[in-house]
């Protein structure tokens, strides 16, 4: 099985601070891979290296066995690497619909000159873009918000809009940076289910940074745990969750080995949900 994304031996340092050292991550086709680790472990830095916002000192990034290390960020997006941001990465001055239009940028079928001087092609293409953006918004039931500005929208809705815009870039790999941040356990669980649904319907591969352990356990097929810029451990979510070093990294060395981090309340909820679906 080929991996959609392969990061090999990535290392980056900022001055004297080693942010990442020899990190290797592989994301196989159609899998949701989790990236966990305490604050400052280098998770978002790794994302920035993958998308090209940072240039790593060592290592290579492969997208479908193609070395994309020399490519700038926008070219990587055009290849199909979509990405969300920890603090919502939407353009504030634009409406929801316009954000979806911006996100389609690399696929737009007219040149910049045609746009600037009002070429007829640009008008035709704009209509198509609009229809497509509405389609994506419709998928998330956000059509009623299409023309409203982002100001004043609830945080959860903004997160959803961000995911919608990332899908508008037509990615085959989505990097999600804490998609459930700022959400309660209920909402987080719901978003996890949505992600699974999206993966199924849109054939997406995902790499997600996530702090909600229950969501990681539910959604991810494989988990990498980073700590101090290194891969602490990797494996199936349940194994990683109970890995003594992971527990130590999160809770400090004093913590009891092998403590189960999942909360019972969440499990109860999950069962309830299942009972609801199956008649």
């Amino acid at each position: 099985m080929t991996s959609v994304l392969k990061v090999e031996g990535t290392g980056i340092r900022f001055g004297g601070l080693v942010a990442l050292e020899d990190v290797s991550v592989s994301v196989p086709e159609w899998e949701i891979v989790g990236l966990i680790g305490p604050n400052g472990a280098g998770k978002t830095t790794l994302f920035n290296c993958i998308t090209g916002l940072y240039t790593p000192n060592t290592g290579t990034v492969y997208h479908r066995d193609r070395d994309i290390s020399p490519l700038p960020t926008h070219r990587r997006t055009a290849l199909g690497i979509g990405r969300t941001f920890q603090n919502i990465g939407l353009v504030r001055g634009l409406t929801v619909l316009e954000n979806c239009l911006v996100a389609q940028h690399p696929r737009i079928g007219y040149g910049a000159l045609s746009g600037i001087f009002g070429g007829p092609r640009s008008f035709v293409e704009e209509r198509k873009l609009r229809a497509y953006a509405m389609e994506v918004l419709d998928f998330f039931d956000l059509t009623s918000l299409a023309d409203s500005s982002l100001d004043g929208l609830p945080y959860g809705t903004l997160k959803l809009i961000e995911i919608a815009t990332v899908l508008a870039t037509d990615p085959d790999l989505v990097l999600l940076d804490e998609p459930t941040s700022g959400m309660g356990p209920d909402e987080a669980h719901r978003l996890g289910e949505q992600l699974l649904e999206l993966r199924k319907t849109l054939n997406l591969t995902m790499l997600m940074i996530e702090h909600h352990v229950p969501v990681v356990v539910d959604v991810c097929d494989y988990v990498y745990c980073l700590n101090f810029g290194r891969v602490l451990t990797e494996g199936k979510p349940t194994d990683v969750r109970n890995h003594p070093e992971v527990v130590a990294a999160y809770l400090g060395d004093e913590a009891v080995e092998g403590e189960d981090l999942s909360d019972e309340e969440h499990i109860a909820e999950h069962e309830e949900a299942e009972a609801d679906v199956v008649p």
């Binding site: 990465g89 316009e98 600037i116 389609e135 059509t143 809705t157 037509d170």
Partner: protein, 492 residues
């Protein structure tokens, strides 16, 4: 089950999109024509020297739009705009006089156009160089560099004697047929219209959106697939292009280009007029620019009167005092704008411009009223409903929300679905064609009773197959809709 999905589609019409009636459009067009006609009538009917001032106002508006491109759209600072305008003015005059020999033989229209093209190109190149600098430096340091750029060109290029004829100034004869002040005012208005069109066209296209997102956040823009470097340069080059056009017009309006016309004071005035007009607001910038162009002339009699009033105020009557008073008043206006009305004139007139653009007349932009809260409520619960993953407890929530909005709840959709299955069997459609649907439903009114299924399934179901699917996501989407419907049915 595809039919059920199709019936379910009306759930998301753009309900709060309000469009004016035909009458409303007629009224809007009439008011717009009245404004444009008013400008034309004014230009034609006023005395010659006022027509000349209108030409100056139009040129200022072009400069304002040029500066707005840098300050307002891409969010960088330029204090060196007098360099672009000045270089362009000298080049235009130089070409017309020295190369085409207009000084004694008169200037043909084609010469005028050619020299304007040269001027625009030189402005674009000059600004493009600054754009390259702006890639590495921003904020205060960029402001300092542009300032130096302007001052250096003022003291070097504008001192080249074959351009300035040894400081006497390079003459620029107006093109035949457009020599009179009225005619030339119309010529500048035509060019202003062209610049406005390019500005509008750019902002409505992908270029404008890309530039705005680069201003907002470069990492976000890049991760949307936007070439940040490229669009920054494009913004600067376009700004230089407009500045070049303005420079050429200014050269032919003044009929003699001297270096003094392009001093730093001018740039300050231009920056102030863009700020007072409203950064990033086309209409506001044009009004602000025209105001600042006219302000000096309106001020003239006032200053004269003040100067004659009291001995120590005599300096107000001196030549050049006007420009400084404009700067001082402009600065005060700019401070007032920044503190009290950050949107500038553009924000003050926005109810009118929004109305002209086909929205309701209101003091606040659409989407800030009750519509928004309703809509966001729907969106919070909507996705779950769409994906058929309703969990216990949240169903009540949805029903509540849907009392006032479109039929989003599972219950209401179920009614729709039952009615759909009860009605005569529509032809089986394996895939929903996602493209036509929103168009079809956008026209349907928002408060369609949920019991009446849209006629689309009967009509549209037959001629669509998997072959009609579009690129990537859309095709997958078609599948998804069916999947969701099936799942929802299972839930029942």
């Amino acid at each position: 089950m595809a039919t059920a999905t199709e019936v379910l589609r009306p759930v998301t019409t753009r309900e709060d999109k309000w469009r004016p009636s035909t009458k409303g459009w007629v009224a809007r067009r009439a008011v717009l024509l009245l404004i444009l006609g008013g400008i034309v009538f004014l230009t034609a009917s006023v005395e010659g020297f006022w027509a000349d001032r209108i030409a100056r106002a139009a040129i200022f508006a072009v400069i304002g739009l040029s500066l707005n491109m840098v300050l307002g759209y891409i969010g960088q600072v330029s204090l060196g705009h007098q360099a672009f305008v000045g270089i362009a003015a000298f080049i235009a005059a130089y070409y017309a006089t020295e190369k085409a020999g207009c000084e004694f033989e008169g200037c043909s229209m084609s010469t005028f156009i050619t020299s304007t093209v040269f001027a625009a190109l030189s402005g674009a190149i000059a600004a493009g160089v600054l754009g390259l600098v702006a890639l590495r430096i921003r904020g205060l340091y960029l402001a300092l560099i542009t300032l130096a750029y302007g001052l250096v060109s003022q003291n070097s290029i504008f001192e080249i004697s074959f351009l300035t004829r040894g400081g006497a100034g390079m003459p620029a004869v107006r093109p035949d047929g457009w020599v009179g002040d009225h005619a030339f005012a119309f010529l500048t208005l035509i060019f202003l219209a062209g610049v406005i069109f390019v500005d509008w066209s750019m902002m409505r296209s992908k270029v404008g959106r890309a530039i705005l997102s680069v201003k907002h956040s470069e990492p976000v823009a890049a991760s949307y697939g936007i070439n940040v470097t490229g669009y920054k340069i494009i913004a600067f080059v376009l700004s230089g292009l407009f500045a070049g056009v303005a420079g050429s017009l200014l050269a032919f309006r003044n009929q003699n280009v001297v270096a003094n016309d392009f001093s730093f004071v001018e740039t300050l005035t231009w920056v102030l007029m863009v700020v007072v007009g409203g950064l990033g607001n086309r209409v506001g910038v044009i009004i602000g620019s025209a105001f600042f162009a006219m302000f000096g002339f309106i001020l003239e009699p006032v200053l004269h009167w003040l100067g004659g009033l009291w001995g120590p105020l005599h300096f107000l009557e001196e030549a050049g005092a006007q420009a400084y008073v404009v700067i001082i008043v402009g600065a005060a206006l700019a401070i007032f704008t920044i503190i009290e009305y950050p949107g500038g004139i553009g924000q003050q007139v926005s109810p009118i411009t929004r109305w002209l653009g086909g929205q309701r007349f209101s003091m606040h932009p659409d989407g800030h009223g009750k519509h928004q809260t309703q809509a966001s409520e729907a969106s919070k619960t909507g996705v779950m409903g769409r994906l058929g993953l309703q969990r216990s407890g949240s169903t009540d929530e949805v029903t509540e929300a849907s009392d006032e909005t479109a039929p989003t709840s599972v219950m209401e959709r179920a009614t729709v679905m039952e009615q759909a299955t009860a009605s005569p069997p529509p032809p089986p459609a394996p895939a929903v064609h996602p493209d036509d649907e929103p168009v079809a439903h956008a026209s349907g009114s928002a408060d369609d009773p949920p019991g009446k299924p849209d006629p689309v399934p009967e009509v549209g179901g037959t001629d669509e197959g998997p072959a009609s699917r579009k690129r990537g996501f859309l095709g997958k989407l078609g599948l998804q809709k069916n999947g969701a419907a099936q799942q929802e049915e299972k839930t029942r």
